[in-house]
Symmetry: C2
Subunit: 150 residues, 2 copies
Protein backbone atom coordinates (compact mmCIF):
# COMPACT_ATOMS: atom_id res chain seq x y z
CA UNK A 1 0.00 0.00 0.00
CA UNK A 2 1.08 3.48 -0.82
CA UNK A 3 -0.23 6.28 1.37
CA UNK A 4 0.12 10.02 1.08
CA UNK A 5 -0.83 11.85 4.28
CA UNK A 6 -1.76 15.52 4.01
CA UNK A 7 -2.43 17.68 7.05
CA UNK A 8 -5.25 19.68 5.55
CA UNK A 9 -7.17 22.84 6.31
CA UNK A 10 -9.95 21.07 4.44
CA UNK A 11 -10.70 18.27 2.02
CA UNK A 12 -13.85 18.42 -0.02
CA UNK A 13 -15.06 16.05 -2.73
CA UNK A 14 -17.94 15.45 -5.07
CA UNK A 15 -18.39 12.20 -7.00
CA UNK A 16 -19.17 13.13 -10.60
CA UNK A 17 -19.28 9.97 -12.65
CA UNK A 18 -19.02 6.22 -12.14
CA UNK A 19 -16.30 4.05 -13.56
CA UNK A 20 -16.89 0.34 -14.23
CA UNK A 21 -15.56 -0.51 -10.78
CA UNK A 22 -17.55 2.10 -8.86
CA UNK A 23 -18.73 1.35 -5.35
CA UNK A 24 -22.47 1.72 -4.73
CA UNK A 25 -22.89 4.51 -2.22
CA UNK A 26 -25.08 7.38 -1.08
CA UNK A 27 -22.06 9.41 0.04
CA UNK A 28 -21.48 11.36 -3.16
CA UNK A 29 -20.30 14.56 -1.51
CA UNK A 30 -18.37 15.36 1.61
CA UNK A 31 -16.24 17.92 3.37
CA UNK A 32 -14.01 17.82 6.40
CA UNK A 33 -11.95 20.58 8.00
CA UNK A 34 -8.76 20.47 10.09
CA UNK A 35 -8.15 16.90 9.04
CA UNK A 36 -5.52 14.38 8.11
CA UNK A 37 -6.25 13.26 4.54
CA UNK A 38 -4.98 9.78 3.72
CA UNK A 39 -4.71 9.27 -0.05
CA UNK A 40 -4.41 5.51 -0.46
CA UNK A 41 -3.48 3.08 -3.24
CA UNK A 42 -4.03 -0.57 -2.34
CA UNK A 43 -1.43 -2.69 -4.13
CA UNK A 44 -1.22 -6.20 -5.48
CA UNK A 45 1.06 -7.35 -2.66
CA UNK A 46 -1.63 -6.34 -0.18
CA UNK A 47 -3.89 -9.09 -1.48
CA UNK A 48 -1.79 -11.63 0.41
CA UNK A 49 -2.80 -10.20 3.76
CA UNK A 50 -5.44 -7.48 3.56
CA UNK A 51 -6.12 -7.55 7.31
CA UNK A 52 -2.46 -7.05 8.11
CA UNK A 53 -2.28 -4.12 5.72
CA UNK A 54 -5.37 -2.55 7.28
CA UNK A 55 -3.70 -2.87 10.66
CA UNK A 56 -0.47 -1.31 9.36
CA UNK A 57 -2.37 1.54 7.72
CA UNK A 58 -4.44 2.30 10.80
CA UNK A 59 -1.35 2.30 13.02
CA UNK A 60 0.42 4.73 10.71
CA UNK A 61 -2.59 7.04 10.47
CA UNK A 62 -2.98 6.98 14.26
CA UNK A 63 0.69 7.78 14.76
CA UNK A 64 0.62 10.81 12.49
CA UNK A 65 -2.80 11.97 13.71
CA UNK A 66 -1.42 11.83 17.25
CA UNK A 67 1.60 13.93 16.32
CA UNK A 68 -0.63 16.48 14.60
CA UNK A 69 -3.31 16.31 17.29
CA UNK A 70 -6.13 15.83 14.80
CA UNK A 71 -9.22 13.70 15.26
CA UNK A 72 -10.65 14.11 11.76
CA UNK A 73 -9.52 11.65 9.12
CA UNK A 74 -10.36 11.48 5.42
CA UNK A 75 -9.82 8.14 3.69
CA UNK A 76 -9.45 8.89 -0.01
CA UNK A 77 -8.80 6.20 -2.65
CA UNK A 78 -5.94 7.29 -4.87
CA UNK A 79 -4.88 4.78 -7.49
CA UNK A 80 -2.38 7.25 -9.01
CA UNK A 81 0.06 6.57 -6.16
CA UNK A 82 0.96 3.13 -7.54
CA UNK A 83 1.45 1.33 -10.82
CA UNK A 84 0.86 -2.08 -9.26
CA UNK A 85 -2.69 -2.02 -7.93
CA UNK A 86 -4.72 -4.71 -6.19
CA UNK A 87 -8.03 -5.89 -7.56
CA UNK A 88 -10.86 -3.39 -7.05
CA UNK A 89 -12.58 -5.90 -4.73
CA UNK A 90 -9.63 -6.05 -2.35
CA UNK A 91 -9.15 -2.29 -2.53
CA UNK A 92 -12.78 -1.61 -1.54
CA UNK A 93 -12.60 -4.11 1.32
CA UNK A 94 -9.34 -2.62 2.64
CA UNK A 95 -10.54 0.99 2.41
CA UNK A 96 -13.82 0.19 4.17
CA UNK A 97 -11.98 -1.71 6.89
CA UNK A 98 -9.64 1.23 7.50
CA UNK A 99 -12.71 3.47 7.88
CA UNK A 100 -14.33 1.04 10.32
CA UNK A 101 -11.21 0.53 12.42
CA UNK A 102 -10.65 4.27 12.72
CA UNK A 103 -14.29 4.80 13.71
CA UNK A 104 -13.91 2.10 16.35
CA UNK A 105 -11.04 4.16 17.75
CA UNK A 106 -13.30 7.23 17.92
CA UNK A 107 -11.93 9.21 15.03
CA UNK A 108 -14.32 11.21 12.85
CA UNK A 109 -13.94 9.57 9.48
CA UNK A 110 -15.03 10.66 6.03
CA UNK A 111 -14.40 8.10 3.29
CA UNK A 112 -14.63 9.10 -0.36
CA UNK A 113 -16.18 6.45 -2.61
CA UNK A 114 -14.02 4.10 -4.64
CA UNK A 115 -14.16 3.97 -8.42
CA UNK A 116 -15.80 7.31 -9.19
CA UNK A 117 -14.45 10.28 -11.05
CA UNK A 118 -14.41 12.86 -8.31
CA UNK A 119 -13.87 16.59 -8.10
CA UNK A 120 -11.91 17.51 -5.00
CA UNK A 121 -10.37 20.47 -3.25
CA UNK A 122 -7.59 20.12 -0.75
CA UNK A 123 -5.55 22.65 1.20
CA UNK A 124 -2.22 21.41 2.53
CA UNK A 125 -0.88 23.34 5.52
CA UNK A 126 2.75 23.31 4.40
CA UNK A 127 4.66 22.66 7.63
CA UNK A 128 7.30 19.89 7.63
CA UNK A 129 4.90 17.19 8.85
CA UNK A 130 2.03 18.23 6.62
CA UNK A 131 2.98 16.00 3.68
CA UNK A 132 4.23 12.48 4.27
CA UNK A 133 4.37 9.47 2.00
CA UNK A 134 4.50 5.94 3.28
CA UNK A 135 4.86 2.40 2.01
CA UNK A 136 2.64 0.32 4.29
CA UNK A 137 3.27 -3.38 4.72
CA UNK A 138 1.13 -5.96 6.46
CA UNK A 139 1.48 -5.63 10.21
CA UNK A 140 1.21 -9.24 11.20
CA UNK A 141 1.99 -12.49 9.55
CA UNK A 142 -0.91 -14.30 8.02
CA UNK A 143 -1.63 -17.42 10.01
CA UNK A 144 -0.57 -20.45 8.11
CA UNK A 145 -3.29 -22.99 7.67
CA UNK A 146 -0.99 -25.92 8.19
CA UNK A 147 2.29 -25.86 9.93
CA UNK A 148 4.90 -28.39 9.07
CA UNK A 149 6.61 -29.55 12.27
CA UNK A 150 10.26 -28.53 12.25
CA UNK B 1 9.76 10.47 -14.23
CA UNK B 2 6.40 10.21 -12.63
CA UNK B 3 3.83 12.83 -13.47
CA UNK B 4 0.36 13.46 -12.10
CA UNK B 5 -1.69 15.81 -14.25
CA UNK B 6 -4.64 17.58 -12.65
CA UNK B 7 -7.04 19.74 -14.64
CA UNK B 8 -7.53 22.38 -11.98
CA UNK B 9 -9.91 25.24 -11.26
CA UNK B 10 -6.90 26.68 -9.47
CA UNK B 11 -3.54 25.83 -7.96
CA UNK B 12 -2.11 28.09 -5.31
CA UNK B 13 1.08 27.69 -3.29
CA UNK B 14 3.15 29.41 -0.67
CA UNK B 15 6.69 28.33 0.18
CA UNK B 16 6.93 28.17 3.95
CA UNK B 17 10.31 26.75 4.89
CA UNK B 18 13.51 25.65 3.17
CA UNK B 19 14.86 22.14 3.22
CA UNK B 20 18.58 21.46 2.79
CA UNK B 21 18.11 21.10 -0.97
CA UNK B 22 16.00 24.23 -1.47
CA UNK B 23 16.32 26.20 -4.68
CA UNK B 24 17.15 29.89 -4.30
CA UNK B 25 14.18 31.83 -5.64
CA UNK B 26 12.09 34.95 -5.29
CA UNK B 27 8.93 33.12 -6.37
CA UNK B 28 7.69 32.12 -2.93
CA UNK B 29 3.98 32.44 -3.69
CA UNK B 30 1.90 31.88 -6.76
CA UNK B 31 -1.59 31.20 -8.06
CA UNK B 32 -2.95 30.10 -11.39
CA UNK B 33 -6.55 29.48 -12.47
CA UNK B 34 -8.03 27.21 -15.15
CA UNK B 35 -4.77 25.34 -15.44
CA UNK B 36 -3.20 21.97 -15.93
CA UNK B 37 -1.13 21.21 -12.84
CA UNK B 38 1.77 18.84 -13.45
CA UNK B 39 2.99 17.29 -10.21
CA UNK B 40 6.39 15.85 -11.10
CA UNK B 41 8.90 13.48 -9.50
CA UNK B 42 12.22 13.26 -11.37
CA UNK B 43 13.62 9.75 -10.96
CA UNK B 44 17.06 8.17 -10.86
CA UNK B 45 16.66 6.68 -14.35
CA UNK B 46 16.13 10.18 -15.72
CA UNK B 47 19.73 11.08 -14.88
CA UNK B 48 20.87 9.06 -17.91
CA UNK B 49 19.16 11.42 -20.32
CA UNK B 50 17.66 14.51 -18.68
CA UNK B 51 17.11 16.28 -22.00
CA UNK B 52 15.19 13.35 -23.42
CA UNK B 53 13.01 13.23 -20.32
CA UNK B 54 12.31 16.95 -20.56
CA UNK B 55 11.25 16.39 -24.15
CA UNK B 56 8.99 13.48 -23.18
CA UNK B 57 7.45 15.47 -20.34
CA UNK B 58 6.79 18.54 -22.48
CA UNK B 59 5.20 16.43 -25.22
CA UNK B 60 2.89 14.75 -22.72
CA UNK B 61 1.91 18.05 -21.09
CA UNK B 62 1.24 19.58 -24.52
CA UNK B 63 -0.88 16.61 -25.54
CA UNK B 64 -3.10 16.79 -22.47
CA UNK B 65 -3.22 20.62 -22.47
CA UNK B 66 -4.38 20.42 -26.08
CA UNK B 67 -7.14 17.95 -25.24
CA UNK B 68 -8.29 20.14 -22.35
CA UNK B 69 -7.80 23.37 -24.29
CA UNK B 70 -5.80 25.03 -21.51
CA UNK B 71 -2.88 27.39 -21.93
CA UNK B 72 -1.97 27.72 -18.26
CA UNK B 73 0.46 25.18 -16.84
CA UNK B 74 1.72 24.72 -13.29
CA UNK B 75 4.97 22.79 -12.86
CA UNK B 76 4.98 21.50 -9.31
CA UNK B 77 7.81 19.34 -7.88
CA UNK B 78 6.31 16.34 -6.13
CA UNK B 79 8.81 13.86 -4.74
CA UNK B 80 6.04 11.80 -3.13
CA UNK B 81 5.15 10.28 -6.51
CA UNK B 82 8.27 8.09 -6.53
CA UNK B 83 10.47 6.13 -4.18
CA UNK B 84 13.43 6.23 -6.56
CA UNK B 85 14.33 9.89 -6.98
CA UNK B 86 17.09 11.54 -8.98
CA UNK B 87 19.64 13.80 -7.34
CA UNK B 88 18.24 17.22 -6.37
CA UNK B 89 20.59 18.83 -8.92
CA UNK B 90 19.17 16.86 -11.84
CA UNK B 91 15.62 17.38 -10.58
CA UNK B 92 16.06 21.17 -10.46
CA UNK B 93 17.62 21.23 -13.93
CA UNK B 94 14.82 19.09 -15.41
CA UNK B 95 12.01 21.10 -13.79
CA UNK B 96 13.50 24.42 -14.92
CA UNK B 97 13.96 23.08 -18.46
CA UNK B 98 10.33 21.94 -18.60
CA UNK B 99 9.31 25.46 -17.56
CA UNK B 100 11.52 27.05 -20.23
CA UNK B 101 10.41 24.72 -23.02
CA UNK B 102 6.75 25.33 -22.25
CA UNK B 103 7.31 29.09 -22.16
CA UNK B 104 9.06 28.83 -25.54
CA UNK B 105 5.87 27.22 -26.81
CA UNK B 106 3.84 30.19 -25.50
CA UNK B 107 2.19 28.57 -22.53
CA UNK B 108 1.71 30.59 -19.36
CA UNK B 109 3.81 28.72 -16.84
CA UNK B 110 3.98 28.93 -13.08
CA UNK B 111 6.71 26.80 -11.50
CA UNK B 112 6.69 26.15 -7.76
CA UNK B 113 10.16 26.12 -6.18
CA UNK B 114 12.00 22.89 -5.52
CA UNK B 115 13.01 21.79 -2.06
CA UNK B 116 10.73 23.95 0.06
CA UNK B 117 7.97 22.94 2.41
CA UNK B 118 5.00 24.47 0.69
CA UNK B 119 1.38 25.08 1.56
CA UNK B 120 -0.85 24.52 -1.44
CA UNK B 121 -4.48 24.49 -2.46
CA UNK B 122 -5.71 22.64 -5.51
CA UNK B 123 -9.15 22.09 -6.97
CA UNK B 124 -9.50 19.14 -9.34
CA UNK B 125 -12.39 19.39 -11.79
CA UNK B 126 -13.38 15.74 -11.59
CA UNK B 127 -14.20 14.86 -15.19
CA UNK B 128 -12.60 11.69 -16.65
CA UNK B 129 -9.57 13.51 -18.09
CA UNK B 130 -9.02 15.70 -15.05
CA UNK B 131 -6.67 13.32 -13.26
CA UNK B 132 -4.04 11.39 -15.18
CA UNK B 133 -0.84 9.73 -14.07
CA UNK B 134 2.04 9.05 -16.39
CA UNK B 135 5.40 7.34 -16.41
CA UNK B 136 7.57 9.51 -18.68
CA UNK B 137 10.62 8.07 -20.37
CA UNK B 138 13.34 9.85 -22.35
CA UNK B 139 12.05 10.79 -25.78
CA UNK B 140 15.20 10.35 -27.80
CA UNK B 141 18.28 8.26 -27.42
CA UNK B 142 21.26 9.98 -25.97
CA UNK B 143 23.86 10.39 -28.67
CA UNK B 144 26.68 7.98 -28.18
CA UNK B 145 30.07 9.64 -28.06
CA UNK B 146 31.77 6.90 -30.01
CA UNK B 147 30.15 4.47 -32.32
CA UNK B 148 31.71 1.15 -32.91
CA UNK B 149 31.41 0.24 -36.59
CA UNK B 150 29.28 -2.82 -37.00
MG1 LIG C 1 6.87 1.98 -7.70
Amino acid sequence: MRMLLIHSDYLEFEAKQKTKIAEETDVLKGKMEECLTAFIAVERDDEENPEGVVKGAVEEIEKVAGQLKVNNIVVYPYAHLSSDLSSPEVAKEVLKSIEEELKNKNYNVLRAPFGWYKAFKVSCKGHPLSELSRKIVAKEEKEEKEKTPS
